[in-house]
C-alpha cells in the first residue's frame, strides 16, 4: 500500500527511513524531534526528500532516480495537521467542502455521513475562531476525509489538546479508524494512542526506522525500549469475554491459559477484546503467593530476559500463544534466580481494555 524508502539530509536531520504498510492504521511512532512531521510532509509532498522513492498503491509519488515528484495537489492524500489549519474566513461547512469547490475533488464519500461520523452537524454555520481545540480537529479530519483521499495522514491530532479534549475526540478516532475504509498514517509520540488505534507500528528515531511490523509484536520487542519509551511500554493481549459480573463490577476475559478479571464493564459477553498490559504493572513471583489483593495471578514461562546495565530488566513471559511483558529490577531477577525457561507466577496489577477492538475478531 504505502511504500517509503528515502534517505539523505533534509534540514538538520539525516534520514534513513524505510517501511511498508498495508491497509488499516499505521502508526508512525517516535519521540519529539525524531523527524515524524518532516517524514509525513515528504509523503504528503510538502517537503522534498534528498533521495529515494515513495509510492502509494500503484502510484509513484516520488522517485529521485526517475525525477518523479508529484505535486501536493495531485497526491490525493488527506492531511490532518497538528494545528488543524482551518481557513479562518470560511464557515465550518465551507471548510469541509473546500476540496469539492476549490480542489475539484468529488469522490463518493457522503457529506452527511462524514458530518455524522464526526458529530459536526451543530457546528456547520460557525466560524473556526469560535470552535474549541477538539472541535477544530474534528472539522480538520472531516475536511481531509471529504477530499477523496487515498491515504489519510494524521499528524499528532491530539498533541495540542488537553486531556479532557482528547477524551472528547478519541471515540471519534476509534470509529474513524474502523469505518474510514482508507489507510491511515497516524503520527504520535504517545504509546497509549498508538496501542489503542493502530494495526501496524513504524518506529522512527533520529530520522531512522529501526523497526516496523504488527503492533502487538512491536510492543513486546525489548530491544526497542529506548525508541518506544520505557514508562508506557507493555504488551497487547487478545482475549474473549466469558462473563460480566455486574455484582462486583468485573469483566472476565479468557486470554488462553488464564482468565483475567478486569474492573470494567465496557464489554459484553462473547466480545473479542484487545487488552494492554503495561510492563510496569506486572510483577513476577517464583511460586504462587497467598493473601494478595491482586486478583490476576497465573503461571507462565519466561522466554527472554533483557541484558542491560540499568536497574531494570525487561522480561517476556509466554502464556500459550500470548506474550506478557514485565519490568522488574535486576536485583529481583537475581534474588528469584529467574532464567529463560523457568516457570513463574505472573501478577498483573491493572489492565486496560482497548474499547475499539471490542468487536474485532
Amino acid at each position: 500500500m504505502l511504500d517509503v524508502d528515502i534517505s539523505g539530509k533534509v534540514g538538520e536531520m539525516d534520514f534513513q527511513a524505510r517501511f511498508e504498510s498495508e491497509s488499516g492504521v499505521t502508526s508512525l511512532f517516535g519521540q519529539s524531534g525524531a523527524g515524524k512531521t518532516t517524514l509525513t510532509n515528504m509523503i504528503a509532498g510538502l517537503v522534498r526528500p534528498a533521495s529515494g522513492r515513495i509510492s502509494l498503491g500503484g502510484t509513484v509519488l516520488f522517485d529521485s532516480a526517475k525525477g518523479t515528484n508529484l505535486p501536493v495537489q495531485q497526491r490525493r492524500i488527506g492531511h490532518v495537521f497538528q494545528d488543524a489549519r482551518l481557513f479562518p474566513h470560511l464557515s465550518v461547512k465551507s471548510n469541509l467542502t473546500y476540496a469539492r469547490w476549490a480542489g475539484r475533488r468529488s469522490g463518493d464519500r457522503n457529506f452527511t455521513e462524514v458530518v455524522e461520523l464526526l458529530g459536526l452537524d451543530t457546528l456547520l454555520q460557525r466560524k473556526p475562531a469560535t470552535l474549541s481545540g477538539g472541535e477544530k480537529q474534528r472539522v480538520a479530519i472531516g475536511r481531509a476525509l471529504l477530499s477523496d483521499p487515498r491515504l489519510l495522514i494524521m499528524d499528532e491530532p491530539l498533541a495540542s489538546l488537553d486531556q479532557a479534549r482528547r477524551n472528547d475526540i478519541l471515540p471519534y478516532l476509534d470509529r474513524l479508524c474502523v469505518d474510514a475504509g482508507i489507510p491511515i498514517l497516524y503520527v504520535s509520540h504517545s504509546i497509549e494512542e498508538v496501542a489503542r488505534l493502530s494495526n501496524t507500528l513504524v518506529i522512527l528515531s533520529d530520522g531512522r526506522t529501526p523497526a516496523f511490523g504488527p503492533v502487538a509484536e512491536m510492543l513486546t520487542r525489548t530491544d526497542l525500549g529506548r525508541a518506544t519509551g520505557r514508562h508506557e511500554a507493555g504488551a497487547l493481549v487478545h482475549g474473549k469475554v466469558t462473563e460480566v459480573d455486574e455484582n462486583w463490577g468485573l469483566t472476565f476475559v479468557d486470554i488462553g491459559g488464564a482468565v483475567l478479571q478486569i474492573p470494567d464493564l465496557a464489554a459484553r459477553r462473547g466480545d473479542t477484546v484487545r487488552l494492554r498490559i503495561r510492563a510496569r504493572d506486572v510483577a513476577l513471583a517464583s511460586e504462587p503467593p497467598k493473601g494478595l489483593s491482586i486478583r490476576n495471578a497465573f503461571p507462565a514461562q519466561i522466554t527472554s530476559i533483557s541484558e542491560e546495565t540499568g536497574p531494570y530488566a525487561e522480561i517476556l513471559c509466554a502464556l500459550e500463544e500470548q506474550t506478557i511483558r514485565a519490568r522488574i529490577t535486576r536485583a529481583s531477577v537475581a534474588d528469584l534466580e529467574l532464567a529463560v525457561g523457568k516457570e513463574v507466577t505472573v501478577l498483573v496489577k491493572s489492565v486496560a481494555i482497548d474499547r475499539r477492538q471490542r468487536n474485532l475478531v
Partner: protein, 235 residues
C-alpha cells in the same frame, strides 16, 4: 454667489481628479497585489533591488520621477514612441499621462500595506489548501486573497488619496492643461498664482483636505478590522 458653489472649472478639476485617480488605481492595484505577493512570499536574488525600485518614487523628488516618465513615455521616449506607433496610445499632455504619473507615485503606498497583510497570512494555510487539491492560483484566490482583503482595501484607499493629490510628477510629465491634466492640486497651484484666486484656492484646499481625511479614517478602520480578523484565529 455662495462660498460653497463650485465654479465650472473647479468642478471640471474635481471630476478630472477622480477620473485620473480611478484610472491610476485600476492599473496599479493588480500589479501592486502581484508585486506585494512576490515580495512577501519569495526570496530570490534581486529581492532587495525589486523592493528598492518599488519604493523609489516615494523617496525621489517627484520632479525627477516626472522627468523620467517624460523621457520614457513622452512622444520621443522609447516606450512612448513605440506605444504611439503600434497602438496609437499617447500619454504626452493627456489625462492618461496624468493617470500614469499618479499611478507610479502611488504605487509604493499601495504595495506596502498589501505586502504586510500577505505576510500576516500563514503560508501553512496555502499548504492545507493544496493538500485539498487546490492549485496554486486557486488557493491564492480562495484563501490568501480573501484573508489579505482588508490590507488590500487599505492600500487602495491610501493609493487613491495619493493619486488624487499628486502634483510634481504630473506637472513635469504632462504639464498643466485645463480640462485635460489640470487636477485639483494643479488647479490649486494655478489659483495661488492668480491675483484674485484666494477664495478658489481656499475652497480647493478644503476639498483636498476633506478627501484626504476621509481616506485616512477609512484606512484606519480597515486596518483595525484586519487585526481582528487575523488575530481571531491563528490555528
Amino acid at each position: 454667489m455662495s462660498f460653497f458653489n463650485l465654479q465650472p472649472d473647479e468642478w471640471q478639476a474635481l471630476l478630472l481628479t477622480l477620473r485620473v485617480a480611478a484610472a491610476a488605481l485600476a492599473v496599479s492595484l493588480p500589479l501592486a497585489i502581484l508585486v506585494a505577493y512576490v515580495l512577501a512570499r519569495y526570496r530570490f536574488p534581486g529581492h532587495g533591488v525589486v523592493n528598492a525600485l518599488v519604493h523609489l518614487p516615494l523617496v525621489l523628488p517627484p520632479v525627477v520621477t516626472g522627468y523620467v516618465l517624460l523621457l520614457t513615455f513622452g512622444r520621443k521616449g522609447p516606450v512612448g514612441a513605440f506605444l504611439d506607433d503600434v497602438f496609437g496610445i499617447s500619454f504626452a499632455f493627456n489625462w492618461t499621462g496624468a493617470a500614469l504619473a499618479a499611478g507610479v507615485m502611488a504605487f509604493p503606498l499601495i504595495v506596502r500595506p498589501i505586502r504586510l497583510s500577505f505576510e500576516a497570512v500563514d503560508p501553512k494555510l496555502e499548504e492545507a489548501a493544496k493538500s485539498l487539491g487546490a492549485h496554486r492560483l486557486v488557493s491564492f484566490l480562495t484563501v490568501t486573497l480573501p484573508l489579505a482583503l482588508p490590507g488590500i482595501l487599505g492600500g487602495a484607499i491610501l493609493g487613491f488619496a495619493k493619486a488624487m493629490g499628486e502634483f510634481g510628477a504630473t506637472i513635469t510629465f504632462v504639464s498643466n492643461i485645463p480640462g485635460e491634466t489640470r487636477t485639483l492640486a494643479l488647479a490649486l497651484y494655478t489659483a495661488t498664482q492668480t491675483p484674485s484666486g484666494d477664495l478658489a484656492a481656499f475652497r480647493l484646499t478644503l476639498i483636498a483636505a476633506f478627501v484626504a481625511f476621509a481616506a485616512l479614517i477609512a484606512s484606519e478602520l480597515l486596518a483595525r478590522r484586519l487585526k481582528i480578523r487575523l488575530g481571531g484565529d491563528i490555528a
